[in-house]
């Protein structure tokens, strides 16, 4: 090792640069870390916007015969909420975490295609702007604005010209199409980086599980997103050039749209949940002080989920009247996906079992994930039974199910990841006390919001209704849901305050505050532009463990 000592105190980031130079540095950057942060910050901004929309939705439904917003506005709110959460929050979070962490974890200096990486981010962001521009220009540049109001999966023939006047649906199709290009670019980059830029010694069997999951996730994006893009182009052809792919009045097929959408839409659920899987696979071992239980089986499980998830899409379509053979096949395949998913839950739990648990905010969120995602999985199995689905299709039971999946699963996992890597990315520690406050508020608020929705759904409350008459037994459950949304609002405010305040005034974090085992903890917090002075050589799946325990390294046992 060279003899240059490290500094005890690092100079603060220079503030002498002017605003223009700072702006240029961020706009022109091809650095994967900056782009990763830009993805995550953009996603969090969209998360706050879509969260506020959900808040208004809950206010509207808090009491029977609510009049907080009008019915048209309500339709736009739930459409934009869903579309934003899926395409402008979930997808950029995938890209953001992968961008920031994959090169650091595999000992690379950058992504394989840095300029494509920059392009991916900007086209995602401009796609998001285009979608939101619909509020101003939804009826054309000279008309009054109207955001899309056809639901986040925009079922045909509602999207045809006859039923959707103006341009709001076009904004939906184009905005997502444009931002989808960014997702494809990012996916190509992650796969190329993981397979071609691993440092010496990092065989696939030693690659961190985070990277493995992100590779499978990127592969799913590459396979699943093109059908949606194709369908959106077909929809535009219908609307602009008189094609009749989905126009039922001219011999088109509305069911065709559903097949196109859901062959993307269900893998999309796994595309969104995989980052949470990836984060848990890193956070739980470090905070349990144990290696991940069944590492090889975990890799196998995520690959299996990737494959199986491509064959389950029509369980979203049990109510359209498919043949009983189709129903049986998709019910069976949907249940099959529960096996590798269950294996992962067991292995995370087994990792924690007997471990020396450090119950800090990242691990708390992982525990919440395990409980809530389990509930989501169980209600998912219930909905995979076609006759059960017929009873509760498009009810609030379904709303509760997928919010337990994406909010109780993805968002909790993302929060765990944000708290875990915040010290690395910013170089400052977050406020642990405020983190725990946010955790408990979030857990209480989340469950108070969505647990009652199971019951409201079973009592027959359909999704997307603007309001409801009293006397149907839904009042209490909606009131509880709305109160829960208020608690979540406070929790998210705590998160935002914690992140902003800690970034500005937090305690220095040090390079390895969690006593981690993967390569990102071997470099400075925040990492320099080049990541590592020397690209590292690794000998096991826990290279930092080997460095810290030279008398008892992992490579002796792998």
């Amino acid at each position: 090792m060279a003899s240059i000592d490290y500094p005890l105190e690092r100079p603060a980031v220079s503030l002498e640069k002017g605003f223009a130079q700072h702006l240029y540095e961020w706009v022109a950057t091809v650095d994967h870390k900056k782009l990763g942060l830009m993805y995550v910050v953009s996603a969090l901004l969209f998360f706050v916007i879509a969260g506020l929309m959900a808040f208004v939705i809950r206010l509207q439904l808090m009491f029977p015969n609510g009049h907080v917003v009008g019915p048209d506005t309500f339709n736009r709110l739930f459409t934009m909420h869903g579309t934003t959460m899926v395409f402008l929050v979930g997808m950029p979070l995938v890209a953001g975490f992968a961008n920031y962490l994959v090169p650091l974890m595999i000992g690379a200096r950058d992504m394989a295609f840095p300029r494509l990486n920059a392009f991916g981010f900007w086209i995602f962001l401009f796609g998001g702007f285009l979608l939101y521009y619909s509020y101003i220009g939804g009826s054309g540049l000279y008309g009054a604005g109207s955001a899309p109001d056809v639901g986040w999966f925009a079922n045909a023939p509602l999207t045809e010209k006859a039923f959707s006047r103006g341009h709001s649906t076009d904004y939906w199709a184009l905005g997502i199409l444009v931002s989808g290009v960014g997702s494809i670019a990012s996916a190509i980059n992650v796969i190329a980086t993981a397979f071609s830029l691993r440092c010496p010694g990092m065989t696939l069997s030693r690659m961190p599980l985070f990277v493995w999951v992100m590779v499978v996730d990127s592969w799913l994006i590459l396979v699943a997103l093109p059908p949606l893009t194709a369908a959106q182009i077909m929809l535009m052809l219908d609307r602009y050039l008189g094609a009749n792919f989905f126009n039922t009045q001219q011999g088109g097929s509305a069911v065709l749209w559903q097949h196109f959408f859901w062959i993307f839409g269900h893998p999309e659920v796994y595309i969104l949940i995989f980052p949470a899987f990836a984060i848990l696979s890193e956070v739980i071992p470090v905070f349990s002080r144990k290696p991940l239980f069944g590492r090889a089986a975990m890799v196998g499980a995520v690959v299996a989920i990737g494959f199986i998830s491509l064959g389950v899409w029509a369980h979203h379509m049990f109510a359209v009247g498919m043949s009983s053979w189709s129903n049986t096949f998709f019910a069976g395949s949907s249940m099959l996906v529960g096996i590798p998913t269950g294996l992962k839950i067991f292995n995370w739990t087994a990792t924690m079992y007997g471990g020396k648990l450090r119950l800090q905010t990242p691990l708390l969120y992982c525990c919440a994930f395990l409980f809530q995602f389990l509930v989501a999985g169980l209600t998912g199995i219930m909905l995979a039974v076609a006759p059960f689905d017929w009873q509760l299709h498009d009810s609030y039971f379904l709303i509760a199910h997928f919010h337990y999946t994406l909010m109780g699963g993805l968002v909790m996992g993302i929060f765990a990841g944000i708290y875990y890597w915040f010290p690395k990315a910013i170089g400052k520690m977050y406020n642990e006390k405020l983190g725990k406050w946010q955790f408990w508020l979030m857990i209480i608020g989340f469950n108070l919001t969505f647990l009652p929705q199971h019951i409201a759904g079973m009592l027959g409350m359909p999704r997307r209704i603007y309001t409801y008459a009293p006397g149907r037994g839904w009042e209490l459950w909606n009131l509880l849901s709305s109160l829960g949304a208020m608690v979540q609002f406070v929790a998210v405010a705590c998160l935002v305050w914690n992140l902003v305040h800690s970034a500005l005034r937090g305690e220095p974090a040090g390079d390895d505050p969690w006593d981690g085992w993967t390569l990102e903890w071997a470099t400075t917090s925040p990492p320099p532009e080049y990541n590592f002075e020397k690209l590292p050589v690794v000998r096991s799946s826990r290279p930092l463990w080997d460095m810290k325990h030279p008398h008892d390294p992992d490579w002796k046992y792998e």
Binding site: P114, F119, R295, P528, M547, H549
Partner: protein
């Protein structure tokens, strides 16, 4: 630069002063903006698309020149003041589990009863149950066919409409159905007993002989009207419990007397699954 200078231990310093990285460029952003405008023109005004197209062309030209004929790079200085802290060596030793170590494995049975013992135990328990049930029929209803006809209701839903007098009569077909059903269920339950008895942490005989029959009765109580309407209408629950206990005690006794056989559970799951895990291979030097 030599390979040694390029690579080292994680966190290791270098003698080099600069690192070559891709140069920043704003052309990807401009290109993305142009593509967005190009498509936005479809829903706004054709001139927007035209402007987007011009921006796309310019951005393609600019981007092209950042990589053709030579990729643009910048040299980033390695700043000593931003070096990571040295990785501290931890001398505390870590206890590693060895494969199949006593006290550090799941409480799964290392020995089980053979399935044949379960089948035989089930038949014996079923016989004991049948004798008591017939005794009940003889004492209460003056007919041993009464409980047999009731039991057949599991297979023959039509028995639900039978009168008490019809239930007291012998019917060869119904008898055959009851006999086959009873034998099959007895064997299956016996096999389940053989499989689960070794898993009970303590007092297996108490569990198998008394508690499981009581649990089973509790489970049957709310479901009997669906599973067997005839039995649900005419059943005597005290006798039902006694019959279940007879099955549990007799079947459990037979199973408990069988010779146990060892399972793969004596080995760790990862070993049985052929997975790679710490401790599964002898120490070896890194390649």
């Amino acid at each position: 630069m030599s390979v040694e200078e390029h690579h080292g231990e994680p966190g290791e310093r270098t003698q080099e002063t600069h690192v070559q990285l891709p140069a920043p460029t704003f052309w990807p952003m401009i290109f993305a903006f142009g593509v967005t405008l190009l498509l936005a023109g479809l829903v706004t005004f054709w001139a927007v698309s035209l402007i987007g197209f011009i921006i796309v062309l310019r951005a393609v030209w600019g981007w092209w020149h950042t990589v053709i004929p030579h990729e643009e790079h910048e040299y980033v200085a390695i700043e000593p003041e931003h070096r990571p802290a040295p990785i501290l060596v931890e001398y505390r030793s870590v206890v590693r589990l060895t494969v199949g170590e006593e006290g550090h494995r799941a409480h799964l049975p290392v020995e089980v009863h053979p399935y044949t013992a379960g089948a035989v135990g089930g038949l014996v328990g079923g016989a004991a149950m049948a004798i008591l049930a017939c005794l009940y029929g003889l004492v209460r209803e003056h007919s041993i066919w009464y409980p047999i006809n009731l039991l057949a209701g599991v297979i023959l839903p039509g028995m639900g409409n039978a009168t008490a007098e019809q239930l007291r009569q012998f019917n060869a077909g119904v008898f055959g159905a009851a006999l086959i059903g009873h034998i099959c269920i007895s064997i299956l339950v016996g096999i389940v007993y053989a499989a689960i008895m070794p898993m009970f942490p303590k007092y297996a005989a108490l569990w198998a002989g008394i508690l499981v029959p009581l649990f089973w009765t509790g489970l049957t109580y709310p479901l009997i009207g669906i599973l067997n309407p005839a039995m649900g209408e005419h059943i005597s629950w005290p006798w039902f419990v006694v019959c279940q206990l007879a099955f549990g005690l007799c079947g459990g006794y037979v199973i408990a007397r069988s010779t146990n056989i060892r399972t793969f559970q004596s080995k760790a799951f990862v070993e049985r699954a052929g997975l790679e895990f710490p401790g599964s291979h002898p120490e070896k030097e890194p390649q």
